[in-house]
């Protein structure tokens, strides 16, 4: 190496500086920290630093009974808590051989999909907030409050649901809930149209999102990125279709796929997913069977069969996998939570190479991260 190239590399080193984004920063939606090596406004290296909200969920699983872990599932991804509860409950049901009544499965689908819409609404608002538009956040929260009202009446909590039980759900739905949900579905469709006119078609938004933050399908596969991220890269991967669980086979819905792989594609995937979730909710309400919503005779202290078991669901952010290991005792031997945000964020370092700061933050927002979902 010549002296000249040494000098220039040294100078280049001198010109970059390190920018700490977070743990308290408005764009990181919580306590994610990004260590950005910047050359002016260009990012030469982005290193996410996680763990600022690590809450020992996996260790707690080994410290309490199978049922006592249920409230934890509501606090991993607090925006889409239903799906997480679903995965855990179904994995334990698989291990213990508990059969779930059809009505309970339908209620699980309805509540999970409502929760998915509310989660996407928060993402929608927070993403626009990242892009500097404040008003859509409040419109989205308006709609979200309607869902929360419905779910609160049913489950008793607004956010961190602990509604599913081994063998069903803890409260059966009543007529008020069904009527309210129908009203919500009918009222939400025109709102989606309004969002399209107000936000999606906005020229500034399109300029900020189209062609920005490209993620290829191959990159998604290598990093295990799922959910709207992989669907925004042209791969029609959805756990609800690929590994159909619960009663998702009974419903007619599409998996929205956009091949561009940029922020706009991921944005459109989520907007379209809300419409599809409305379709599922509507069909599930139509088909809702009678019967009990909770299997009778499930013991209070569960001792599932020895072995390890998996259950994967499509959470709002992608594939959520619960792997439980049982040694036949009343306490789990190991609970492994594979969360979508973790894998989705891990590709950020590669995807943000050479981007400018505002674009990188748009990319970060389009990944839809929930930080406790990463740190667990």
């Amino acid at each position: 190496m010549s002296a000249l190239s040494l000098l220039s590399s040294g100078e280049r080193e001198h010109e970059t500086f390190i920018l700490n984004v977070g743990p308290q920063h408005p764009a990181t939606h919580g306590v994610l920290r990004l260590k950005l090596t910047m050359d002016g406004e260009y990012i030469t290296r982005a290193e996410p630093v996680c763990g600022y909200i690590h809450r020992m969920h996996e260790k707690m699983g080994e410290n309490r009974t199978w049922a006592q872990f249920l409230p934890n599932t509501g606090r991993i991804d607090y925006l889409a808590a239903m799906a997480y509860g679903h995965a855990y409950v179904a994995a334990v049901e698989r291990a213990a051989g508990i059969v779930v009544p059809a009505r309970a499965e339908y209620i699980r689908v309805i509540t999970s999909e409502l929760n998915r819409i509310s989660s996407h609404l928060v993402w929608f608002g927070a993403f626009l907030l990242d892009l500097g538009g404040f008003t859509p956040l409040l419109y989205a929260f308006d709609d979200r409050e309607k869902i929360l009202d419905l779910l609160e009446a049913l489950t008793g909590s607004r956010l961190t649901y602990c509604y599913y039980r081994f063998g069903g759900v803890c409260n059966d739905v009543d007529d008020d809930f069904i009527r309210g949900t129908r009203e919500f579905v009918a009222g939400m469709r025109p709102r989606m149209k309004m969002y399209r006119e107000l936000v999606t078609d906005n020229i500034i938004l399109r300029k900020r999102l189209i062609g920005i933050g490209h993620i290829s399908a191959e990159m998604c596969r290598k990093y295990g990125a799922t959910g709207p991220v992989i669907r925004g890269s042209g791969v029609a991967y959805d756990v609800r279709k690929n590994e159909p669980y619960s009663v998702y086979r009974d419903f007619d819905f599409d998996v929205p796929v956009f091949p561009e792989g940029d922020c706009m594609a991921r944005y459109l995937v989520r907007m379209e997913e809300m419409v599809q979730s409305l379709r599922i909710v509507e069909q599930a309400l139509d088909k809702l069977p009678g019967g009990p919503a909770l299997t009778a005779g499930v013991p209070r202290v569960l001792k599932p069969a020895v072995g390890d078991y998996c259950f994967a669901v499509e959470a709002a952010r992608g594939r959520f996998l619960v792997r439980i290991v049982s040694d036949g005792k009343e306490i789990p031997y190991r609970v492994r939570l594979r969360t979508p945000s973790f894998s989705n964020l891990s590709l950020f370092e590669e995807a943000s190479q050479g981007m400018m700061l505002p674009d990188a933050l748009a990319l970060l927002g389009s990944l839809d991260l929930v930080i406790p979902d990463i740190d667990r």
Partner: protein
């Protein structure tokens, strides 16, 4: 007299720090949204810079990795400053405390003084508004609205 005016002004202009930790942060956002609207009390000016904020709403669990950062934020806020511990995690570590736990700080009052505690997991937005009213009461000595006593 001057003190009264100052505390009245401060109580009516509590600018919170944009600082969400976990689940409670979503309820904090909901409190700022249209249905609950904390802007009625002039408290909707969420400032992302600790220098310009008056009240830190600790909304979520603080673990050992985060504790130094939270402490720094508190130190960077300028006097007069107040702290609201929102939710069980900020009060005591909440559901994440068990014998032998290794990550969670058991209550934000271990790090710095707290003015108002709001219980709940997470507390409802109404509870946060009540917490802000309590803080105003602490500053001015007068309660803004009559307290509603459940029947």
């Amino acid at each position: 007299m001057l003190d009264d005016v100052l505390s009245l002004a401060r109580a009516n202009s509590l600018w919170p720090l944009t600082f969400g930790l976990a689940c409670c942060a979503i309820e904090m956002m909901a409190a700022g949204a249209s249905r609950f609207d904390i802007s009625r009390f002039g408290a909707e000016v969420f400032r992302p810079s600790p220098r310009q904020a008056d009240v830190m709403i600790v909304a979520g669990t603080i673990n050992k990795k985060m504790a130094p950062a939270v402490k720094t934020l508190y130190d960077q806020m300028l006097e007069p400053k107040w702290v609201i511990a929102m939710g069980n995690c900020a009060i005591s570590g909440g559901p994440f405390v068990y014998p032998g736990q290794y990550a969670v700080i058991e209550g934000v009052d271990k790090l710095f003084p707290v003015d108002v505690f709001i219980p709940g997991c997470p507390p409802r937005p109404e509870a946060l508004i009540e917490g802000i009213l309590k803080l105003e009461e602490k500053l001015t000595g007068k309660r803004r609205w009559p307290e509603v006593i459940p029947q």
